[in-house]
């Protein structure tokens, strides 16, 4: 039986929370301004706890399942991060308290800014953006401000055809024209095409390195040279930083702006879709445009510096997703320099191990040393009508969350696999076994795959109906 919606469990007169008695004389209510109806559910605390606990049990999560989602870095989220970010001294402070009352928070932000600069090879960091896409928005706003300052009217942003959707979406949100660069046969940026497209009208090239194919961009130094020759800015989408932590730094191979995904590389929980945190780092020449405020150290202690006259302004209220910044710093300090490098080494080892083992059963469009993730294609399975989507659904029956599917767009029937460094060899071997089984099923008993999933709380969902007749709000009146 599918669980009821919380409104359907409501019983008139129930309450789950009690306030203390009102200890002041009541004031008369403002005439004509008071609402007459408010249909919130009425439940006991047990009703609510049971409801949401049961809901949670319908989810796949890292804590319960292997989650090889390419481009998402679903690594284990250490619980000490949550414990520490929950200290009342962090959760119980208000952003408008005077600086002398929040020196601990400001020192923490300042330290994190410094550490992230070191990890990425950049000169200055803002912790304000709330997510990767938000970091991209901030970065592009800064690029726009930079060119305006130079009185150069550049209208174009270049993105590779393998890019994450947020890259072109962000660029066009800001009114840029987005032009796609082809990937060459090796999966890297096609240099010839780049040359054709580069001009004094190009504001920036946005790249992920390793790319979304999990491949390190071999020509990165050459690409950087050419972009800078035309006065453009090189932007780094930090989604794939996990592969090169402690091994190489984007600031050292030509990037001018970097955004990080703390909820990917730095183990902050994904929360079912957020909250995240997307700090950005920049080279010195872009520092004046950073969003305000930036944590700074003065003679009288730490403070929030708003003295950036060329700043793009604020991109969110207050200072960033602070409790996540705490989690991020705890994580980094738990690793130390060797630990950070180890993360890159083992995430890349795990990915290559899987890639080699899966090669006999699935098409491998780029058969070369990968980094922390790789892409296979379900083209071979297509002859019995089995597609990447079906394989994804069948994995659920085996208790494994599917990899990312149909991304990047340049590979047909793509399955992007990123195991991360926190998975053990047994988990990887089990995954290989299961993928082998599914390949066999696709061959011999394709209906099993086509009709999957069979064992999840719901069967395959009708998303056509959901989009044709959207039901986005429960009709409480019923």
């Amino acid at each position: 039986m599918p669980p009821k919606i919380i409104f359907e469990k409501s019983v008139k007169g129930r309450r789950g929370y009690r306030l203390p008695p009102l200890d002041v004389p009541p004031e008369s209510l403002p005439a004509g301004m008071v609402r007459e109806t408010l249909d919130l559910p009425e439940l006991s605390e047990l009703d609510v706890v049971r409801h949401f606990t049961q809901l949670s049990q319908q989810n796949f999560s890292i804590d319960t399942h292997f989650y090889p989602l390419g481009s998402c870095t679903m690594k284990y989220n250490p619980k000490v991060n949550d414990e520490i970010s929950g200290f009342s001294g962090f959760a119980g402070i208000h952003p408008f308290q005077p600086a002398e009352q929040v020196q601990g928070a400001l020192e923490l932000m300042f330290s994190l800014q410094e550490i992230l600069s070191e990890i990425t090879g950049m000169d200055a960091v803002s912790l304000e953006p709330a997510a990767g896409a938000h970091g991209e928005l901030t970065g592009l706003l800064m690029i726009r401000a930079y060119f305006r300052d130079k009185k150069e009217d550049r209208r174009i942003i270049l993105v590779p055809d393998s890019s994450h959707g947020t890259n072109p979406a962000t660029a066009s949100m800001l009114g840029y024209d987005v032009v796609q660069i082809r990937s060459d046969a090796r999966g890297g940026v096609d240099l010839e095409h780049l040359d054709k497209l580069l001009s004094e009208n190009v504001a920036a090239l946005m790249l992920t390195n390793p790319s979304t194919l999990g491949l390190f961009e071999e020509n990165i130094l050459e690409i950087s040279k050419r972009v800078h020759q035309k006065g453009g800015v090189l932007y780094y989408d930090g989604a794939n930083l996990n592969a090169i932590l402690g091994i190489a730094r984007p600031g050292d191979f030509g990037f001018d702006i970097v955004h990080l995904n703390l909820h990917k590389t730095f183990s902050i929980p994904h929360g079912g879709g957020g909250p995240g945190a997307g700090p950005i780092g920049v080279k010195k020449y872009l520092e004046p445009y950073l969003p305000i405020p930036i944590a700074a150290k003065g003679t009288e202690g730490y403070f929030l510096n708003e003295n950036y006259p060329k700043s793009i302004g604020r991109v969110k209220a207050y200072y960033g997703n602070f409790l996540h910044l705490v989690r991020g710093l705890v994580y980094i300090l738990a690793q130390g320099p060797e630990g950070l490098k180890r993360i890159a080494e083992l995430s890349v080892l795990n990915a290559n191990y899987l890639m080699k083992a899966l090669k006999p059963y699935y098409d491998l469009p780029y058969d070369r040393l990968c980094k922390h993730e790789f892409v296979i294609s379900a083209n071979r399975q297509k002859k019995n009508g089995v597609r990447a989507l079906d394989i994804a659904k069948r994995l659920l029956d085996y208790g494994i969350h599917p990899p990312t599917v149909y991304f990047p767009l340049i590979v047909e029937e793509a399955l992007m696999i990123e195991p991360t460094e926190t998975e053990s060899k047994e988990t990887l071997d089990h995954f290989i076994d299961v993928m082998k089984k599914i390949a066999e099923e696709a061959e011999k008993t394709p209906e099993l795959v086509l009709e999957a999933p069979h064992s999840t709380p719901v069967a395959r969902v009708d998303d056509v109906q959901a989009a044709r007749k959207p039901n986005l709000c429960f009709n409480i009146g019923n």
């Binding site: 998303d463 056509v464 989009a467 044709r468």
Partner: protein
């Protein structure tokens, strides 16, 4: 074989000209590529459309496609049935799945493709 009583654009729209009235829709190939269509954003009645400029949107579960007008003129009729039944574009793209009718002098229609030319066009794509 696509109906040969009409003309075709590179953006996979068809035009059926009847005097000064041009009926517009998308081809079978287009709806097949899009998959199950969930929403059609129709141009407004009375608005002007220009050949090769966008005039609406067709949304499926997995993709969104701009609708490019194959003619230049004024929209005089729209298929409002598609608001509740966007699937008609999938089921019957050349008849009940029509999208709008524009009043046009039809002079620009001659630079569109014939049925045979369009067949070749999608043939090379495949």
């Amino acid at each position: 074989m696509v109906p040969n009583d009409r003309k075709y654009s590179k953006e996979h729209e068809w035009v059926l000209l009847n005097g000064k009235k041009a009926k517009v829709g998308i081809t079978h190939h287009a709806q097949d590529q899009l998959g199950d269509i969930v929403f059609v954003e129709l141009p407004k009645k009375g608005s002007t459309v220009e050949q090769m400029k966008t005039c609406g949107v067709i949304e499926s579960v997995k993709a969104v496609s701009d609708l490019y007008s194959p003619v230049t003129g004024t929209v005089i009729e729209i298929n409002s049935d598609l608001s509740d039944h966007p699937e008609k574009v999938n089921q019957d793209p050349y008849n009940n799945g029509w999208i709008f009718v524009a009043e046009t002098d039809g002079s620009e229609i001659k630079n569109l493709m014939s049925a045979e030319e369009y067949e070749n066009f999608i043939g090379t794509k495949v």
